[in-house]
């Protein structure tokens, strides 16, 4: 649904996006993660045919960027960083204006549908400027969805929303995924990205890593088993002489054991530890958060080391 080859954008001497290669298939929720100023918004602007790349090429919704920009804009929905609503116009008038700019059949009905979906119907006549921050964000999301786009670019969709409204948005993203819509999600909420995204791309001017969150974590950190001991059992980590054990670290009364295939190797590991006199309280897998992965990649740390 989105393919880019060497997509680059410069602003004078500054390179905002450097040689982006990306392939996002239909129906995927793709998380685009990176710090402020990484070039995420510039990337969205290029993919939404708002600004032209300096070099490279892209195909969005089956249309080549630069050749069918209007068609691309017809097929994508964009939620910008700020809600960007006409404050003096009512919630309904804001949506009606945008619905009429797209080829939407029965704009009034479509507007009503989305106002009801986001529980804004009762506030439809109020100026957008008088709505709460969360309501304005919901209205902006509704605006991005009005024309039923094939691809949705969401820049921080849950920023400023209360937990309930944020859940509504996340549920909506799940619903859209089930309807085969492609979602390009920029977020600083790493837990949200971990839960929602099929794949993520860690980006800072250039793509640092792409993959499913679990795959990336495994690739970066391997899989590790934590053995909680009832007593310190000094020296046991040195005595652990199993060939499949890659590395053993001790943290108080815990042993952190790096394994290639914990599902297969854990029973033998526990058996050997018991033979060596260890009293095992319980065992669990060390879970690495997306935040750890993000920070390590952004700071250029070698996580496996």
């Amino acid at each position: 649904m989105i393919q880019t080859q060497g997509l680059t954008r410069r602003f004078g001497p500054r390179v905002a996006v450097d040689g982006l290669d990306l392939d996002v298939p239909r129906g995927e929720v793709f998380g685009f993660l990176g710090p402020n100023g990484a070039g995420k918004t510039t990337t969205i602007r290029m993919l939404a045919a708002l600004i032209a790349p300096t070099s490279g090429s892209a195909t969005v919704a089956g249309h080549r960027l630069g050749e069918a920009n209007r068609e691309i804009r017809r097929r994508v929905g964009v939620l910008t960083e700020t809600p960007g609503l006409y404050r003096r116009l009512s919630a309904r008038d804001n949506l009606l204006f945008f619905a009429r700019l797209y080829p939407v059949q029965e704009p009034e009905r479509q507007v009503e549908r989305y106002l009801r979906l986001f529980e804004l119907w009762d506030r439809r006549g109020e100026p957008a400027g008088s709505l709460s921050k969360g309501m304005r964000q919901k209205l902006a999301i509704a605006r991005a969805l009005l024309h039923e786009p094939e691809i949705l670019f969401l820049d921080e969709p849950t920023a400023g929303l209360d937990p309930e409204a944020a859940k509504t948005v996340r549920d909506l993203i799940e619903t859209l995924r089930s309807k085969d819509r492609t979602i390009f999600l920029c977020t600083h909420n790493l837990d949200e990205a971990d839960r929602l995204c099929d794949r993520i791309g860690l980006f800072r001017t250039r793509m640092l890593a792409v993959g499913a969150p679990a795959e990336l974590k495994e690739e970066m950190y391997g899989r590790r088993t934590v053995v909680h001991l009832a007593s310190p059992s000094p020296g046991i980590e040195q005595a652990l002489d199993l060939s499949f054990v890659k590395k053993v670290e001790r943290l108080d009364d815990r042993l952190i054991v790096s394994l290639a295939d914990p599902d297969r190797e854990n029973p033998a590991l526990i058996r050997r530890l018991v033979e060596l006199g260890a009293e095992v309280r319980f065992v669990n897998e060390l879970r690495v958060s997306l935040e750890d992965l993000y920070l390590d990649l952004m700071e250029g740390r070698d996580a496996k080391a």
Binding site: L50, I51, R70, E71, R73, Y86, L89, R100, L101
Partner: protein
């Protein structure tokens, strides 16, 4: 065409809710009509033909300034409004073309300016009739009518062209407003010429100025449309 209409009505709906724009579009013409009527009455009272000519020429100048000032206020507020409300990006992300966007913004300023100017002229005639006791026949001569109905739309168009051209290149909306203020200059030209000659408005001069304005408008609009590009607007209108 459909999108142009949608944008046009949105612009007007927004302008009507903006007190500053309404103030500029309603109060300024009323104020200038009031001054014009007062000047005509004053000229009649003095009984000096030269003084009367100056008063008439100055009155006419107001009706040539109004169509340049009104679109300036609407267009700049429309642009500043988009910037302040950060609505430009969502708007530019729609399938609206650059030309539709340009025309929508431009016509939303030009049409009210022309209509308000003509209404003001009507009000001026009526008010003069009440105050002086007769409709001033000078104001119904060919040069006056050609100025009001021929020159003023061209002046409005010129003013909007300059505003749009400057706004799409300027990095700051306030700077755009200041630079765009130069658009009122053509409206002052007749006054300068007539005042120096101390003669009544001359049809030949109106025609010459009209011809110059047609050329200027064509050039300004051509340039403005050429530089009114999504990317420029998005990256420069800060």
């Amino acid at each position: 065409m459909r999108r142009l209409k949608v944008l046009l009505f949105k612009e007007w709906r927004e302008s009507l809710r903006n007190k500053m724009v309404v103030f500029g579009v309603v109060l300024l013409p009323l104020f200038l009509v009031g001054i014009s009527v007062y000047m005509i009455a004053l000229g009649e009272g003095i009984g000096d033909p030269t003084a009367s000519i100056v008063m008439f020429n100055t009155s006419l100048m107001y009706f040539l300034l109004l169509p340049t000032i009104i679109p300036l206020a609407i267009a700049v507020y429309s642009i500043v409004g988009e910037k302040e409300q950060t609505t430009l990006e969502p708007l530019l992300a729609t399938p609206i073309s650059d030309l539709e966007l340009f025309l929508g913004k431009a016509l939303a300023s030009v049409i009210p300016a022309i209509v308000v100017n003509w209404l003001s002229f009507g009000l001026f005639l009526a008010a003069t009739r009440i105050v002086v006791g007769a409709v001033p026949l000078q104001a119904l001569t060919a040069p006056w009518l050609a100025s009001i109905f021929g020159l003023s739309p061209l002046l409005a168009l010129f003013s909007v062209g300059v505003t749009m051209l400057v706004s799409s290149r300027a990095s700051d909306a306030r700077a755009a407003y200041q630079f765009s203020s130069f658009a009122v200059l053509p409206g002052l030209v007749p006054l300068i010429i007539y005042s120096s000659k101390q003669t009544l408005v001359d049809l030949r001069l109106v025609v010459v100025e009209g011809g110059v304005l047609v050329v200027l408008c064509a050039a300004i609009l051509y340039l403005a449309i050429r530089v009114f590009r999504r990317e420029q607007i998005l990256t420069r209108w800060r």
